[in-house]
């Protein structure tokens, strides 16, 4: 049946096609309770959390970051999404023959500096070099190990009417920065990637006594994908208030020009956090104290209806549906 079928980019784009592939070809084969929970990481033993991720962004340097910063942040953000504090990491490097040595050192140093900041120890690693032309630049794979800070594991399954949804900042800067670096879009002006480590923020949130029910970093598939996953996990309807969503006007302009849907663009330094109504105010005030999450606000809530649907109350007063994004982000003419 799959005779001649080839892998397309959509498979790795984080949208519905990726999700379907993982369910159909991975989960079905390796099914076990830990894997089946579809978290950003896995809870194992008593309180350990493990996450793994690959980074293939090309070009490796873009406005506001590079592949090294991206891979460290991606790893710690995944661990933070499981309410865990990052402790250890492993690092695999696959490098193209002929790659610039200085660039490689810059990438490694950026990872080291971040690891020092957050007291994460590199415990083992692997380096391979691939013949020139067989791949492009550098790929990084990182596994992170963290200690769970809560006495329950995330995401929880039960949500109630009025639970609040917090978003920690503006959307889409990362995708726009990378598309520009790739030459896929052209404009004058700089939009820096939002890439940032959020593990410190989440650690503080939990230390302050907030008991988050769901934490997810907004990456591939964007805000829409995170909300649709939440709706699926909790079997709930979600209502988002568009007016509360912080906007970067330049990103909005790019979206208008190229016809991109801002809610399906990736970030690398934004979180969606669900807390009970009574904790929302406190959570937002804790988050706002940090530079990386100073744009935090409550952007929506959970409705007790048991239909799985993400509804957006638009800034113009209407209502519409936020759907799981389909595949690659492409410009439109119509």
């Amino acid at each position: 049946m799959n005779e001649g079928k080839k892998i397309s980019l959509s498979l790795g784009s984080g949208g519905k096609i990726s999700f379907d592939f993982v369910k159909k070809e991975i989960i079905s084969r390796f099914s076990n309770p830990i894997l089946d929970s579809l978290g950003d990481g896995a809870n194992i033993l008593n309180n350990l959390v493990v996450t793994t991720d690959n980074f293939t962004v090309h070009p490796e340097f873009f406005d506001g970051g590079n592949i090294g910063i991206l891979s460290f942040c991606g790893m710690v953000n995944d661990l933070a999404s499981m309410a865990s504090k990052p402790m250890y990491m492993t690092m695999g490097l696959v490098i193209e023959e002929g790659y610039d040595y200085k660039k490689l050192l810059k990438i490694i140093d950026d990872i080291k500096n971040l690891a020092d900041n957050f007291d994460v120890k590199l415990i083992c690693g692997d380096t391979k070099v691939v013949e020139k032309g067989k791949m492009e630049g550098i790929h990084i794979s990182i596994t992170g190990i963290g200690l769970r800070m809560t006495d329950y594991s995330l995401p929880v399954k039960n949500y109630k009417n009025g639970d609040k949804i917090i978003l920690t900042g503006t959307l889409g800067e990362h995708t726009i920065s990378v598309l520009k670096a790739k030459g896929a879009i052209e404009f004058d002006g700089v939009i820096n990637s939002d890439v940032a480590p959020l593990c410190g923020v989440i650690e503080n949130l939990i230390k302050e006594g907030v008991r988050p029910k769901f934490i997810r970093d907004v990456t591939r598939g964007g805000f829409s994908a995170v909300l649709n996953e939440l709706s699926y996990i909790g079997n709930i309807e979600i209502l988002i208030d568009e007016e509360k969503i912080p906007v970067n006007d330049s990103v909005k302009a790019i979206c208008d020009i190229y016809g991109y849907d801002i809610y399906s663009l990736a970030c690398e330094g934004r979180m969606v956090i669900v807390v009970e109504d009574e904790e929302a105010e406190k959570a937002v005030s804790v988050l706002k104290d940090f530079e990386v999450s100073k744009g935090s606000s409550v952007v929506g809530e959970i409705l007790s209806n048991d239909r799985q649907l993400v509804v957006l109350k638009t800034m113009y007063g209407g209502k519409t549906i936020l759907d799981m994004p389909l595949g690659e982000i492409l410009p439109r003419i119509c």
């Binding site: 004058d188 330049s250 302009a253 020009i257 016809g259 003419i333």
Partner: protein, 77 residues
């Protein structure tokens, strides 16, 4: 049918000009416009090409009707 957005002219060069929106600027083909283009004009830009210079004063009648609609419906309730 076609995605086109208003962008402001910040520079004119022959058949092309630079247009801007919220701090983002792009080059745009203006070879098919009938009007003379000046800095500060708003152009309707579709896929890298201006299809029309916007005549904003023409909008006044529409905005008037909108305010009448708003007044009318709010006075009825």
């Amino acid at each position: 049918m076609c995605l086109a957005i208003p962008m402001k002219v910040v520079n004119v060069l022959d058949d092309f000009c630079t247009v801007e929106l919220n701090g983002v600027s792009k080059t745009c083909f203006i070879g098919f416009l009938e009007d003379k283009i000046d800095i500060g004009d708003f152009l309707l830009v579709h896929s890298g090409m201006a299809i029309k210079k916007l005549n904003l004063e023409e909008s006044e009648a529409i905005l008037k009707e909108i305010s009448l609609l708003i007044e009318g419906e709010s006075s009825e309730s």
